[in-house]
């Protein structure tokens, strides 16, 4: 990984600038490469290591075409698309106004099977899948529905650099009913809220201490407010993916290429191992930010990282 800009000076400048942003509380956290463990910290972020990030300007996902018996593929794709759009259309504060966050998320279409995990030697999927016939993470191992987990996102990344290689999202519709209406079904859980929250994890964000944020780690029955990002969520995503394509990493910064390549690492596997052609030439260049905006975002994440490290304990 190459270091492209010195962040030490920038971080100092940013601290003050960030405080000038209305409502900026810096409650967001980025997911770090290290394990968490132990007790929940009273304040600040948790974990250790370096923040994770998607290196490419674009990232793609696919929805398992089986979707759900209760929710069609089309409806699922719409919900997932809206969830990712909420993040990728975030307007980041810059020196003069705002500019779109520096990551684009693309729907790569359906896949014929859902395969959660990362293939280190072949094609991959960033798949969104409903677990309908069983919940494979149930405590008794044979998926009798003994699980409290509604949604689970798996993010694979390089432990040293933090670069995300793969991400998959599972929805437990075997054990639970999910609701897709604006007025949440009393017997269900709001799927758009779940997916929007999980999409934040997919993009490398951890839980926030801002109670109003989509990334806050608690949720009240019947609410739909997590469908909609709050300022803290926007600052979080903007801290990772600066509008000019800069990625703020644990080692400094890295510049995403100008081209949009949303394919998973080593290509898209649409059929769980069957040979599939891959190719995508989607174009997209999110808006660029001036240097001040870059500095603001950088400072946000640099401070976040410092706060996190104070809480660390070796495993």
């Amino acid at each position: 990984m190459r270091r492209s800009r010195p962040i030490a000076v920038a971080a100092v400048a940013l601290a003050a600038l960030t405080l000038l942003l209305p409502g900026a509380a810096n409650a967001f956290c980025r997911t770090l490469t290290g394990a968490v463990g132990g007790a929940e910290p009273a304040a600040g972020c948790q974990g250790r290591g370096t923040p994770i990030f998607w290196k490419n300007r674009c990232v793609g996902y696919s929805v398992d075409r089986v979707a759900s018996r209760r929710i069609s593929y089309e409806q699922t794709a719409q919900i997932v698309g809206n969830a990712f759009a909420a993040w990728s259309e975030s307007a980041c504060p810059v020196d003069e106004g705002s500019s779109r966050v520096g990551i684009d998320v693309r729907d790569l279409g359906e896949v014929a099977c859902g395969k959660v995990g990362y293939n280190a030697e072949g094609e991959n999927q960033n798949v969104i899948i409903f677990q309908e016939s069983s919940w494979p993470h149930a405590v008794d191992g044979n998926a009798t529905g003994d699980s409290s987990t509604l949604g689970l996102t798996t993010v694979t990344f390089n432990k040293k650099t933090g670069e995300i290689y793969d991400a998959d999202m599972e929805i437990n519709s075997y054990t639970f009913k999910v609701s897709v209406t604006d007025e949440v079904n009393p017997a269900g859980y709001d799927l758009p809220s779940i997916v929007t929250h999980e999409a934040g994890h997919f993009l490398g964000l951890a839980h926030s201490s801002d109670r109003n944020a989509t990334m806050y780690a608690s949720y009240n029955q019947g609410e739909t407010k997590k469908r909609y990002l709050k300022l803290d969520d926007v600052l979080g995503i903007c801290s990772a993916y600066l509008p000019d394509g800069t990625r703020v990493t644990g080692e400094g910064t890295e510049q995403a290429g100008a081209a949009c390549n949303p394919l998973p690492r080593r290509g898209l596997d649409r059929s769980c191992g069957a040979t599939t052609p891959s190719g995508c030439s989607a174009a997209g260049t999110p808006g660029s930010a001036g240097p001040l905006g870059w500095l603001v975002s950088l400072g946000v994440v640099a401070l976040g990282a410092l706060a996190t490290r104070r809480k660390l304990r070796p495993r």
Partner: protein, 190 residues
């Protein structure tokens, strides 16, 4: 290049009685050894823990606990919402025997690390660091999977009380007493 996997989760907050019902044993234990392996494309970690204090059921002096995630070679998986064991960090654990090892009941919701309360100097149970997003439980009608506990069990004084409301930020002695009491009622009527 080494790589690692993280997971993040949304879970429904479980009831205290659910943890008691689904556990085969409850104990305070401390990790002493750990090993991660590939199983069916996923990494799982087996942690050997010394049982410091049996609370309910039969745990023995040591237990092996299986959790999702870990590191093998240069690839790792870190599963948010899963229990995580830090060297020397004792936890109150609700355990269920699966094959040759135990699993923690309801993942991170079945693990409560112990810390010393600075005011009282008593060992106190706290919320684990990475439980994940917790949603309030819905009525039973929300569940669409097969019912796991159709039998009516004797209620405890914590009927319909969330586990986190019983088990977090309390002296472990008090928590252990409540668990043992609930265990006697619930498991006697199973």
């Amino acid at each position: 290049m080494p790589s690692r996997t993280a997971q993040a989760s949304v879970s429904v907050a479980v009831y205290f009685e659910t943890l008691v019902d689904r556990a085969d044993t409850v104990a305070v234990a401390t990790p002493i050894d750990q090993s991660s392996v590939w199983e069916g494309g996923r990494i799982v970690t087996y942690t050997r823990l010394k049982v410091e204090r049996p609370v309910a059921g039969q745990a023995g002096t040591e237990v092996w606990v299986r959790t999702l995630g870990g590191s093998v070679g240069n690839i790792g998986q870190n599963v948010s919402g899963e229990p995580q064991f830090t060297d020397g960090q004792s936890s109150l654990l609700f355990l269920r025997k699966v094959d040759s090892a135990f699993m923690v009941v309801e993942r991170g919701q079945g693990q409560y690390p112990l810390v010393k309360d600075s005011r009282t100097a008593k060992m106190t149970t706290v919320r684990a660091a990475d439980v994940g997003l917790l949603m309030a439980p819905k009525p039973q009608a929300a569940a669409v999977g097969p019912s796991a506990t159709p039998k009516v069990l004797a209620p405890t004084r914590y009927a319909n009380t969330l586990a986190q409301d019983v088990l977090i930020n309390r002296p472990v002695d008090d928590v252990a007493r409540d668990i043992a009491e609930a265990w006697t009622k619930r498991h006697a009527t199973k």
